[in-house]
């Protein structure tokens, strides 16, 4: 019963918006050709689902995110771990890392375009760089946050560096690493749209860009829906993975 009320309350606003749009359409309150009825959006949605344009573009974007995510994420993980463990390493590269981190990611686009061009390389580089910084930062903080007493356990047991890392440091910083991953996922997903908006001839960002130029509001909205849904699905997937890895801790608490 309570769940039902929650559900209904959550649907109130979306339904109101749809009704509002329908009313505007019925009574022809606007002459703007930009305005589309909910029905039209729905039809476009069905059309696009039936065809493969949407899925191809979505697939391309997802692949780009995946590659950039893996490359940037792995680099960030490695960099962050080393920076978290070694004070010497941190003292050398920490300041420049922090300086570069201050640059809003979108500001790198022009530089990368000049250096790498506007091909696939650009998109991957850009996405990877946006993934790198938050990943490195979160990992580093996670590793630094490993409690002294846990490390001392390792020291008492005379673990070597590798053992210390694999049995104590990495597991203990796993929650922070997952926080980083979640952050990275949403940032890379934004980055791919950005990269495709400025320089691409395929991908969901490009599809939106083209639809916008052709004033196809319905297509743009469907693309938005698709992007949001894909991002959301990936997020859930990541959450499941996190849940799987951290499940034993939850019980222990």
């Amino acid at each position: 019963m309570k769940k039902l009320i929650t559900l209904i309350l959550g649907l109130v606003l979306p339904v109101l918006i749809l009704i509002g749009m329908e009313v505007v359409a019925r009574f022809e309150l606007t002459t703007s050709q930009l305005f589309v009825e909910p029905k039209v959006i729905f039809e476009t949605l069905l059309d696009l689902i039936k065809g493969d344009e949407l899925f191809i573009n979505l697939g391309i974007s997802t692949l780009r995110v995946f590659i950039g995510f893996v490359l940037g994420g792995a680099a960030g993980l490695l960099f962050g771990t080393v920076m978290g463990i070694s004070r010497t390493f941190e003292s050398y590269v920490g300041p420049i890392f922090n300086a570069l981190r201050q640059v809003p990611v979108l500001a790198w686009i022009p530089l990368f375009i000049i250096w790498v061009g506007i091909d696939e390389g650009f998109k991957i580089t850009f996405i990877a760089v946006t993934a790198f910084f938050p990943m490195a930062l979160n990992t580093c903080e996670g590793v630094k946050g490993v409690s002294k007493s846990h490390l001392e356990v390792g020291a008492v047991l005379e673990f070597n560096r590798f053992k210390q890392l694999s049995t104590i440091i990495i597991p203990a910083s796993l929650p922070a690493i997952f926080t980083g991953l979640r952050l990275v996922l949403s940032i890379t997903w934004m980055a791919v749209v950005g990269a495709e908006l400025v320089a691409s001839s395929e991908g969901i960002g490009y599809m939106m860009y083209r639809a916008r130029q052709q004033l196809q509001v319905d297509t743009v909205l469907v693309c938005i829906l698709a992007v949001g849904l894909t991002g959301y699905t990936m997020n859930i997937l990541l959450e499941q993975i996190e849940h799987y890895f951290l499940r034993r801790r939850k019980v222990a608490e």
């Binding site: 649907l11 109130v12 003292s91 809003p104 500001a107 022009p110 000049i114 860009y209 916008r212």
Partner: protein, 255 residues
């Protein structure tokens, strides 16, 4: 093992200086075309020239005005929605699902929609920036409003506090750390998005446009300088917010 602070600071300079040296050697020997990597001194000279000419202040002003407007609109809206949802579970159930659904769309995805609705106008850009600032502000405020521990609520009951005073004395102060970090995150988000807006909406004026122009004309020195300035301003904004946080949250510091 203990290296003192001075040494640590000096070490931080090693990598940047080495990079500078490499850069200088590469460009001096023309191993890389000056188009892709200008001489350090060219960049320095351009930097000085830009500031002397004063055009950069116009762009700077443009970007900052825009970000200020979008940011203020975004955090105000975020604060209101965040408190509303934090204080009333009915409102949370009403707004929460829509908010969370809309939030799933990467912010840059809204650009085509905004352009379609509002055209390439100032308003479109400000809404875009405001939207970016709105999400983290809402989330943080919402979170903050639920920070108040049950124990303190009992204190409020013992002193017969009414709703407004409960809000003012208990809920908002306990939410303040969260709200302030929301403001800080929103600010850096807004600062990134103003650059984004200037690039993606492809309109005149602002640092983002200056950068994009430089890219089109392959003026690498200007690209470098704009990145530097943008990064610097981002840093300063963040730093100022941190100081503000420390001042306002003095009560958190224990002896």
């Amino acid at each position: 093992m203990d290296v003192n602070k001075e040494v640590l600071k000096l070490r931080g300079l090693v990598v940047p200086l080495a990079l500078l040296a490499v850069w200088w050697i590469i460009t001096k020997n023309e191993w890389v075309s000056a188009v892709f990597l200008p001489l350090p001194e060219t960049v320095a000279a351009t930097f000085v020239k830009l500031f002397l000419k004063g055009k950069i202040f116009v762009d700077l002003n443009e970007s900052i005005t825009k970000v200020a407007k979008g940011f203020l609109v975004g955090i105000t809206a975020g604060f209101l929605l965040g408190t509303a949802m934090g204080l009333s579970s009915t409102l949370e159930k009403l707004f929460g699902p829509l908010f969370n659904a809309v939030r799933q769309v990467p912010i840059l995805g809204w650009i085509p929609v905004l352009i379609l609705i509002f055209g390439l106008t100032e308003l479109a850009k400000i809404i875009f920036i405001a939207l970016g600032a709105f999400y983290p502000m809402t989330l943080n405020t919402f979170d903050g409003c639920r920070q108040l521990k049950k124990e303190y609520l009992e204190v409020a009951r013992v002193f017969e506090f009414n709703k407004p005073r409960l809000l003012w004395r208990f809920i908002l102060p306990s939410a303040l750390p969260s709200i302030l970090s929301g403001i800080r995150v929103s600010m850096s988000e807004a600062w990134m998005l103003v650059i984004g807006a200037e690039i993606f909406f492809k309109t005149r004026g602002g640092l983002g446009d200056m950068m994009w122009e430089a890219k089109t004309r392959v003026q690498m020195d200007i690209v470098f300088i704009t990145i530097l300035i943008i990064g610097l301003i981002g840093f300063i904004l963040n730093y100022v917010m941190k100081i503000l946080e420390n001042r306002l949250l003095r009560w958190r510091i224990s002896n």
